[in-house]
Amino acid sequence: MTLLAVSNLTKRYRRGNKTIAAVDDVSFHIDPGETLALAGPSGSGKSTIARLALRLIEPDDGRIDFEGGDFLALSGAALRARRARLQMVFQDPLAAFNPRATVARVLDDPLRIHGIASRGERPRRIAALLERVGLTADLAPRAIHEISGGQRQRVAIARAIATKPSLIVLDEAVSALDVSVRGEILELLLDLQRQEKIAYLFISHDLGVIRSVAHRVILLDAGRIAENGDARTVIDAPQSAIGKALVAAAPRLNRTGP
C-alpha cells in the first residue's frame, strides 16, 4: 500500500510581475517504512514540496493522498487527527521551538494537543520519549536554549514521534550538525524506521548523506523532477544534467595517503 501519493503537484509564486512555478507538476509516492530523498540546487523546490506535503501551504494544482485518503480535502478535526500521523523535523530546532520552553514542555504539547496521554501519564511518556531518542529523563526540566544542538535535534525527533506518525518530513534535519553528531542522529532515524516502520521524506543538499540513508531519490531542478530512482543507482551514475552537476560538485575525500 502506498503511504503518500502526490500527483501533478504545482505551486506558483508571484515575483514582481512574473509568476514562477516553485513546484511544477510533480508526482511521486512513498511506501510505508521507506525513505524518499529530495535533492537539488537551492531554489529547486525541495522545501516547497515539504510544506505542501505538510499542508503548511496549499497547492495551486494537484492531489495529495495520505494513508489512503484525499489529504487536501480534510479540514477541522479530521485534518488535525490526520496531522498526528505526519510530522516534521527542520534544520534549526531553535527556530522551531520557543527557546525558553523546557524540553518537557516541547514534548508535552503534542501529547496534550492530540490527546495521546492524560495529564498524570504525560511525565512518564515524556521520559520514555527522551529515552527512545537516546537522551535521559533528567533533561526534561532544561530549557531548549540550554542544551546542545545535537540534543535539541533529538528532542525535535522525540516530539515528532510522540504522535506515532507514519511519515516524518525531514528538511535539512542533519545539515547543521557536527559530523560526529550527524552520524548518531542518522543511526537514530534508521533505528526508528526499522522499529516503528516510519517513512521519511528526507530533504538534503548532501548527496553523500542521501546515498547513505535513502532508499530512493528525486533530483529536482527548477521545480521539476529531473531524475528519480534507487538512491545509489542515481547518485553513482546520474543521467540528468543537474544530477551530473550535483555529483561533480560534491567534495571528494581521497584517503589513500601521502
Partner: protein
Amino acid sequence: MTALALIRNLTVTYRRDGSEVAALRSVSLDIEAGERLAIIGESGSGKSTLALAIAGLLPGSAKIGGRIDWFLSSLGAKAPPSVLPDISPSRGEIGSFAVGSSPATLVIGEGGNKGAISPLEGEMSGRTEGGLIECRSQKSASKQSHIPRLGRDIGFVFQDPSASLDPVMTIGKQIAEVARTHLGLTWSQSYARAKGLLERVRLPDPDSALRAFPHQLSGGQKQRVAIAAAIAAGPKLLIADEATSALDTIVQAEIVALIRRLVTEDGMTLLFISHDIALAAELAERIAVFRHGQLVELGMTAQIVGAPAQPYTRALLDAHIGLDTRPLLNRARLRA
C-alpha cells in the same frame, strides 16, 4: 618557505554570564606566505575565534594572551602602499573593508550576523582596542614592516554574504570604497577597479552589477561580490570563514574554484575555515585540525587525510559521509 605570520601561545577567553570560556588555548601556528591553509574543526572548536584574532576583529570584551608576529613588507607587496596613515583596527574598520561604512554595518555581529562574527551574542558592543593582540612588526633589513590592516592587508569573507554587504549601497560603491580607502585612488579610478574585480569574480554583466543592490543578487552572486570587496585593496592574506557553507553544493564548488584562482593569480595567502574536511582537503595544501580551542594536528593535506596522527582527526575522517562511503542503510540491514 617564508612566514607571513607566527602565532605564539594565542589564548582567547570570552566572558559570558560572569564565567569565562576559553575559546582558544595556547595555540601556536605558522602561516606561510602564499600557502593555502585550512582550519577545520567542529562547532565551538575555536576556528572562527582564530580567524577573528588574526584579523583583529575580536570584541573588546575578549581577553587575549600570546602574540602574533607579522612579516608583511618583506614579501614584496603587489598592491600600492596606502597613502593614508595607519590607524589601529577598530570597529569602524569592519565597515570600511567590505561592508561600506553606513552606521548599520558597523554593528555587524550584534544582530543579524550571529555566529558568523560574534562568537557570543552580546559580546561585540565594546570597542576593539581593549582586545587588540600584541602585534609586533619585524623589521627586515631593507623594507619596513607594519601591523596588518583589515581591508588593505587582510581580506575577510564571512559565511553570510548578506551580512557583509550594505543593503542600501550599490555593489559598485561598496567595492570602490575599499579601493579608495586603502589604495588612495580617486572615485573614478576606484569604480574602474571595482568593475575589473566584478569581471574577475565572474559576475555576469559587471556594468549593470555595479549599479545593482545586494538584494538583486543570488546568494552565490552576493558571495562573489563579498570576495571582490575583500580583495579590492590587494591584501596579502585572504581569510574565508565558512564562506561557502550557506551555499548549495554546485555554487559552493564554483566559489571554491574562484577563491583558488584568485589566490593563485594574486599570490595571496589563504586561510580557509571550514567544518567540512573534504572541502578543506580539496582546496588547502595544509590542514590544521582544531578541537575545544586547541590545535590537535597540523600537516600537509595528504598526510592529515591519508595518515592522520591523532585519533580525533581519524574520527573526523571516519564521520565523513562521501559518495563512496558504505551506506548506513546497508550496515543497518546487516545488523537487523
